[in-house]
């Protein structure tokens, strides 16, 4: 029983870990997008 539980926990820990990494990657992309948008706005507002 304990081995089955352990196997299940490890598998879901692995999947959740990967999803966490994907979320962090997504946040990084959002930050970069905001930076680019801000740069674009600055350029457009330049006289």
């Amino acid at each position: 029983m304990k081995f089955l539980w352990l196997a299940n926990c490890l598998v879901w820990l692995g999947i959740c870990g990967y999803l966490f990494v994907l979320t962090k990657h997504k946040n990084r992309i959002t930050i970069r997008l905001t930076q680019i948008e801000r740069l674009g706005d600055e350029r457009n507002n330049r006289p």
Partner: protein, 224 residues
């Protein structure tokens, strides 16, 4: 919410429900095997992970060939996404296998053909991922990765057939018709395979979308 986000949510929800159903089948529907007891149920996690791991590496192989033939960066990104998921699944296969081995063979690890070739496969594709993250000249790096993606696949059929080709203590499920499993076990295997297929495709799609956006942003920044 955009139409794309609606679809994403739907796909993720369906995958989640399928995985919950597969868990129900594993814990409550599948009969307890007479000799090994509950530990045998690790097989319902181990087998789908191994199969979809193989499929990932096959996709790396196909997309690497397509990248070399057509020089389309999308194929390189798809190969990268497939390799990541393949390594994740392969890691989980090794971990669940180790637990099963301890219960069945009374040892965590033994250097028998199936286990050894799987470990080699894990090292090859981990190396592939390290190569993707490292050194400079972009196009050259992508070509190197594609070549490794093709050459690395040589080990995959070896893993699959190792238990038949050499003397191995690893069980072969598909050796006989229906793998010699009772119908309830067979149904649980099929449900698990389907559920993990859903997760595999969802992860592949999510990761590919992310890599594609990141690649576009990189280009935008480099063009100034």
């Amino acid at each position: 919410m955009t139409l794309r986000q609606h679809w994403s949510l739907l796909v993720i929800s369906v995958t989640g429900i399928m995985l919950l159903i597969s868990q129900w089948f594993i814990w409550f529907y599948a009969p307890v095997e007479a000799q090994m007891g509950l530990v045998q149920k690790i097989f319902y996690l181990h087998l789908p992970l191994a199969w979809w791991g193989f499929v990932s590496f096959f996709l790396v192989f196909i997309f690497s060939i397509l990248f070399l033939c057509r020089c389309d960066d999308n194929f390189d990104l798809l190969a990268g996404a497939a390799a990541e998921i393949g390594v994740l699944f392969c890691t989980l296969v090794l971990l669940t296998g180790i637990l099963w081995a301890k219960a069945a063979w009374n040892t965590w690890w033994t250097w028998e053909p199936r286990l050894s070739t799987t470990l080699v496969m894990w090292f090859v594709y981990s190396g592939y991922l390290v190569l993707r993250k490292s050194f400079g000249v972009e196009q050259k790096q992508k070509t190197f990765c594609a070549v490794l993606g093709i050459l690395g696949f040589l080990d995959v059929p070896l893993v699959f057939f190792s238990a038949r080709l050499w003397r191995s203590i690893h069980p072969t499920v598909m050796a006989s018709r229906q793998g010699g499993l009772p119908s309830e076990m067979w149904l649980t295997v099929l449900i698990s395979l389907l559920a993990w297929a859903g997760l595999f495709l969802t992860l592949l799609w999510l990761r590919y979308s992310q890599l594609k956006i990141a690649d576009r942003l990189d280009r935008l920044i480099s063009y100034g």
